[in-house]
Symmetry: D2
Subunit: 345 residues, 4 copies
């Protein structure tokens, strides 16, 4: 089968690989019909993710059809139409029982990281019963591909952890795909104000189309002043960090109101300054989280009931044969204006 393989820092190729096989009774083999590329895949390609060794098939998102199941799989059978979760969960360990699937002792983020992933014609899914989600036969596969990772990540790490509430004021720092996914799902809770912050006016324009009530261009370094002005000096109830850099995290510290929450979504490579000399008395909460995908069933219902339209995040489409072009388009998002790209296997 064809598969996109990481070949060490800076290198990748579409290779011919053997079909995956069931290796544990709880495995399933899924024939991928749609997959996509995540910012994390680009991090791997830069060599930033040491757990991912050269030779690994990348990808942790996708939709497809069950091809085979191990003897221990009871919830699915061949032919079932399924969504692949970016997080594998055994359903049995202490963390899984606490709904912290991200920290499953034999799962978590392993697909396209420590085991072969979804950017291929077929993928082996460990812990299949608790890591796949059945989808309606007539479901829109492109839309649901957004539920593998980007939407639960934005919703759980940003919106739920950020305690977005009706009438509240929310700032989203970073209007890339993950920030925009937070913007879409924050609206489940009807906040009064949704302030998008970015350096790129194009992205801010998209944010306004997606529901931002105000946009702040952070170029020039006075984003905090702008937000304080827009909020009458009060600051925001929720600040969602969707970039993963020290400066944007500190911006969240600068704009959070007393009693507010900073919900970190970004992947950070270095430490940030925590201004406790100012924040110790401000009754704030800071949260971090690797997505647990516990809200996948809820998100499926919001898509089915048309409360959420995930396809708004999709800007480009490619066949698997042209996945290298897809990577190129996604990596040059500033010029291609790519958000999420669909790859049809």
């Amino acid at each position: 089968m064809k598969a996109l393989v990481y070949q060490g820092p800076g290198k990748k190729a579409l290779e011919e690989r053997p079909m995956p096989a069931i290796s544990a009774p709880t495995d399933a083999i899924v024939r991928i019909t749609k997959t996509t590329i995540c910012g994390t895949d680009l991090h791997i390609l830069k060599g930033d993710v040491p757990t991912c060794a050269p030779g690994r098939i990348l990808g942790h998102e996708g939709v497809g059809t069950i091809e085979k199941v191990g003897a221990g799989v009871t919830a699915f059978r061949p032919g079932d139409h399924v969504l692949v979760s970016c997080i594998s969960a055994c359903g049995k360990c202490d963390y899984c029982r606490r709904a912290m699937y991200s920290h499953c002792t034999t799962g978590g983020w392993i697909l396209g990281n420590t085991v072969d992933g979804t950017q291929a014609e077929y993928v082996r899914i460990p812990h299949a019963d608790t890591s796949l989600y059945r989808i309606p036969a007539d479901a829109d596969e492109e839309a649901l591909t957004m539920l593998s990772d980007i939407l639960p990540t934005a919703f759980e790490c940003g919106v739920l952890n950020g305690k977005v509430q009706p009438g509240s004021t929310v700032a989203i720092v970073g209007a890339g795909p993950i920030g925009l996914a937070a913007l879409l799902t924050a609206q489940f809770y009807s906040p009064a104000e949704l302030i998008a912050i970015d350096l790129d006016d194009n992205r801010l324009d998209v944010a306004k189309l997606f529901g931002a009530t105000m946009a702040v261009n952070a170029t020039g370094g006075n984003a905090a002043e702008q937000v304080m002005k827009l909020t009458d000096g009060r600051g925001v109830d929720t600040a969602i960090e969707a970039v993963g850099a020290p400066a944007t995290f500190v911006l969240c510290e600068d704009i959070v109101a007393p009693g507010g929450t900073i919900a970190n979504v970004g992947v950070h490579g270095v430490k940030a300054d925590l201004h406790l000399e100012r924040l110790w008395s401000q009754n704030i909460t800071i949260t971090t989280r690797l997505v647990d995908t516990v809200t996948t069933p809820m998100l499926l219902k919001t898509v089915q009931s048309r409360k959420l339209d995930p396809k708004r995040l999709i800007t480009h489409r490619f066949k698997l044969d042209r996945i290298l072009d897809a990577y190129d388009t996604f990596a040059r998002a500033a010029s291609t204006r790519a958000l999420k790209v669909i790859i049809e296997a």
Copy 2:
């Protein structure tokens, strides 16, 4: 009347001052019978609290009897026996309505800071109806003096924010008075393990007497390793920072388990490192808070029903005449082994 007055950095004196008078209809004048000294008073004396100007009567804790009330006070009358809260709350502003009395727009921590305080024979209490608490006539005044600040601070900022639960593992970093108060009130929730961490073996011995199940002396810099070992490599569900220094905050980052909470109680003068490169994926929560004293009625009930014995925190007693000795004893806690000192007015 006699009053302990801040005279600028490093200077204080017991002065003769005029009796306070009602200046707003919501004021009450309280004759203080017992007061105490807080670590914050020492900070003021070092010149670290710029809002507190020379000439200010210090103190934000105490118990006493109502002497006079303004025309707008409806909940109290002369002769009532009351507890003074360290936080003044108007009960009307947006923050007060959200039970964030610490950020009351015309109150908060003002006593002994921006208005004259309780280390005196009499004190004027603004917003009296919502800043004083009636206590039983036969109440133990010494015990209740601990409810002005130290116990609600430890309980709200450390225990409640830290989400201490039955069966959970809690570390308290810093076994000074505030850490010990957290240790006492954490036991309301029956955690399985309560690990006290300090540099001073005497304090750790007190911690064990007060209910710590394990003690870690952090001298030598391997406290994190010790805690990880004591928790089978898992870390703690709740880490309560009760010191107010960058190193102790980072220790909390080092020992918090995935899914756990760091509850900051300490007053910080400088920023700390937040190791997001490690923590971004650990599903942790960090909280800060200036005490709101919303749990004062609950704490009163726990004292009345003997679930909490605040007098365990009291080590020394002085008359108001000898308050300078009291300050000296409290400031040299390492040698005097002082926790809280009672001053009888």
Copy 3:
């Protein structure tokens, strides 16, 4: 001044009454500009509310302008544009401190019940600082009149207590004004399905216009069967009782899913059957509540930010002179299709 006065069961009149006067320092006198009629006013007129004595000016909803304030009022002054809350709150008692204003020991629902109300040119508002809400000068008074009672009641007792969530399934039993207000505010949380249940097809048509995704006419007695069919035999996550009768409450018991919530909004005159022989093992929650109006500030923000349009509830408008016609129109809602009627003073 003119005022609508209850004259004993079945009797009411528009009378000439003396202007109200400040009787406590915390009082304010408000000149009413808009008021409305509540279903509770009709209950009083039937003689069902023994606390309300003949001679009482009715009404507990309205918007107006501050005319005078007592010496203890600090948050408002003459000329301020204000919303009158149906619940008076002292802000000081144990219940008020727990945000249970409905049970305020010197307040609660007193307006138009135990003290004169808002269906008049002027009204005295006790505990003014914590029972009035400032509104923008250019606010739409008609819209905000819906925030005195009906919207916070539907939102707090139905939607919040009912824990409506994104993706969840909600049934609202009763599509009268209060049920429709629940329907509007339930949408703050983006439930997947909102099932309206009533006996009247006209009301169900309005419900569908207001956002119901399904409508069930309960005539014939098989409403439960219809709901179970619509939910694939699962039942609803939230059942909001917005009628106040034993049969509709039992209907909620019949349709609530395991793990779901029955949120009672209706005013009940008699007991209902609680089928514990079926429900004891179903992990359900039942809630009751008299509105606390703690969400009034949040609701004001949702109106200002156009997440909520309260004017959709208004069907008729009258001058105060014609308030008897307003009552007649409101009382004959089945034929007039009245929801809420505005009375301009």
Copy 4:
């Protein structure tokens, strides 16, 4: 092997039965070392539980050692020392993912009900990985037998659902084994008052030994008046119904304070009156629940750390040979003063 078999209403016998065998890959066979009898077993024997057919081996509680595991079991192997949960959970269905194991679509309460149970030398445990709990080799088996059902039931349905809090006032209606288990676990949260209510002074004496601060004998029908008097007319924050009868449920309605919670633990055979004409405005919450056993790991930690001593519930001990005597002793609790009886297999 020997097993206690239900032979139809009123009939039971200790029979010789074949050893159970693995019938699904997720099964385990457990050799029972200790088991006990539950009030529910007596209900089955009365013929009150139609799902339990004659021929069924009774029992859903116990501790033992793994004898054999199916091919799909990954968390346990032969020789492991385990606690049997009264609730079987697949860990995969919608309810299990929501931690509502009691409603597991292929599990729930099945042991000693729809499949053979634990009052035997061996038992087959379906969904073993998520229905058994590993215990330390040196654990006190008798103590842990109390964690199969009675303690999680009392804790989850009574204490957690009842939101017992530090300083709160709790009434427990019924001081039988389940009420006493609620009494023990309520103390995890340090309530100020714990009022035990029963008709039997002996049981009330035990309740006082177990931590009740007040005891009310309900004989004479004035229990509500007594409770109101003991609470200065306020009522209780939490009323735990631990009987399962209409009258005791109504007693909870009579004593719950505004804002309080009625947590039902009792198994009810008939409906009860819900006095909504009084309660609709009282801001109360009523909860029902079949135990989910999600707190079993937490309870294990509280036992290990000596915050809970389950053996206080054990009054009698028998060998499996004499299980009929054990049933007799347990059934005549009023005269034998039996709480829980241990049966050693």
